[in-house]
């Protein structure tokens, strides 16, 4: 009798744990689903101006008080638009990397930060993070035009005003892959590999 109870106990535990794994997987999938169907969700990452298409042109005021033009034809230099938010930890972690990229690629690249929201919060962030050397834009329209869903997001605009590469960037490697994509003339490194095979 007690042996039978032990066996049934083992079976029940196995079933309970297997069901828990299933519940976990389901809740995770529901989370991803919510994110994908949201109006500014990850599915949108593939939308907005495509690589190779002209980037929408904007003339915007910077936080420091000047004004710059984003996109548009007839530029002499490329632009790296970096979309961030003061509360995004990954963005903060990438700031030193961006500064060093901007210094080493000074000949041909301008680094531009972009965000939206309350001005005072951004002014404080701009000062604290030491971004004084770079233009910092506050514009909801800019993010909408490039369909920025998740942060940090980067867009590389070439001298001809066309989008050269873009995507979600979580690490130095992903940032550098944007430049690799530009040099190879493909939308992403993945596409380059696909073309080769």
């Amino acid at each position: 009798m007690s042996e039978a109870l032990v066996v049934s106990n083992i079976i029940l535990w196995l079933v309970v744990l297997a069901l828990l794994v299933a519940v976990l997987a389901l809740t995770r999938q529901i989370g991803i689903l919510y994110e994908r169907v949201a109006p500014m969700g990850a599915l949108m990452l593939d939308q907005g101006p495509k690589v190779g298409e002209p980037a929408p042109q904007f003339s915007l005021d910077t936080l420091a008080g000047g004004s710059i033009v984003v996109g548009g034809p007839g530029r002499s230099r490329s632009q790296l638009l970096f979309f961030l938010s003061p509360t995004c930890p990954v963005c903060k972690k990438l700031l030193p990397v961006l500064k060093s990229i901007s210094a080493s690629e000074r000949q041909w690249l301008d680094l531009v930060f972009a965000s939206d929201g309350d001005r005072p919060e951004h002014v404080e962030f701009y000062r604290k993070a030491g971004l004084g050397d770079f233009p910092y834009l506050l514009s909801t329209a800019l993010g909408m035009a490039f369909k920025v869903g998740r942060l940090p997001y980067a867009v590389l605009i070439g001298e001809d005003g066309r989008v050269r590469a873009k995507g979600l960037v979580n690490s130095r490697e992903q940032l550098e892959s944007l430049f690799a994509a530009k040099e190879l003339g493909v939308a992403s490194v993945q596409e380059f590999i696909d073309q080769r095979t």
């Binding site: 032990v6 106990n9 083992i10 535990w13 309970v16 744990l17 828990l20 794994v21 519940v23 976990l24 809740t27 995770r28 529901i30 989370g31 991803i32 919510y34 994110e35 169907v37 949201a38 109006p39 509360t87 995004c88 930890p89 990954v90 903060k92 972690k93 604290k128």
Partner: protein, 192 residues
């Protein structure tokens, strides 16, 4: 009625229950510490979002908090040091829950809690009263894990029960974190 209360008290004091709770809490603490130490810069930026510490203290705090978690988790594992471990863990939970509550009162909630560990795979988990409730439950579990009654001798099947219950508790913990992280995304959809 008094019988039922007595049964319930005996049940939560049973070694199987208290040990499963203690083991699950240890795993939660270790996993949190591991995640935070693996990417300290990221955790430091998450701490900065709380706007409670001056800049100079962010770096020490980003090391102290995971170290505190490891110490509490390790002490919880052994029967001799269980009380000390539970005290450390409770103090830590009160500190971090206080930080979350202060920011909720300030109206700042749209940033990742930086909880790490078993809630780090759920995507962004923003601040909410649900997070406070979760930590209160963890505190209750800590208290229960201390109330062990050694009257009963453990037999082999009890170890199966402890292992199963520990894994089940961890599974429930991760699932509820995921549901909490999903909630603001669902809210965003409803308001669209």
């Amino acid at each position: 009625m008094r019988d039922l209360a007595a049964y319930l008290a005996a049940f939560v004091a049973d070694p199987v229950v208290t040990r499963a709770l203690g083991a699950a809490l240890s795993v939660v603490l270790f996993a949190g510490a591991w995640q935070k130490l693996r990417d300290r810069e990221l955790f430091q930026a998450a701490l900065d979002n709380y706007r409670l510490l001056p800049d100079a203290l962010l770096r020490p705090a980003a090391i102290l908090l995971p170290a505190w978690e490891i110490a509490a988790g390790a002490l919880l594992l052994s029967a001799q040091s269980r009380v000390a471990g539970a005290g450390l863990a409770a103090a830590l939970l009160l500190v971090v829950t206080g930080a979350v509550a202060i920011n909720l009162w300030r109206g700042r909630r749209d940033f990742d809690c930086g909880c790490g560990g078993l809630s780090s795979h759920v995507g962004e988990q923003t601040l909410s009263w649900g997070l406070v409730g979760r930590n209160v439950l963890l505190l209750a579990a800590l208290a229960l894990s201390l109330g062990e009654d050694n009257a009963r001798l453990l037999v082999s099947i009890d170890y199966l029960s402890v292992a199963g219950a520990t894994l089940a508790l961890l599974g429930l913990y991760v699932s509820s974190n995921q549901l909490m992280a999903n909630h603001p995304r669902l809210q965003a959809l409803r308001n669209y």
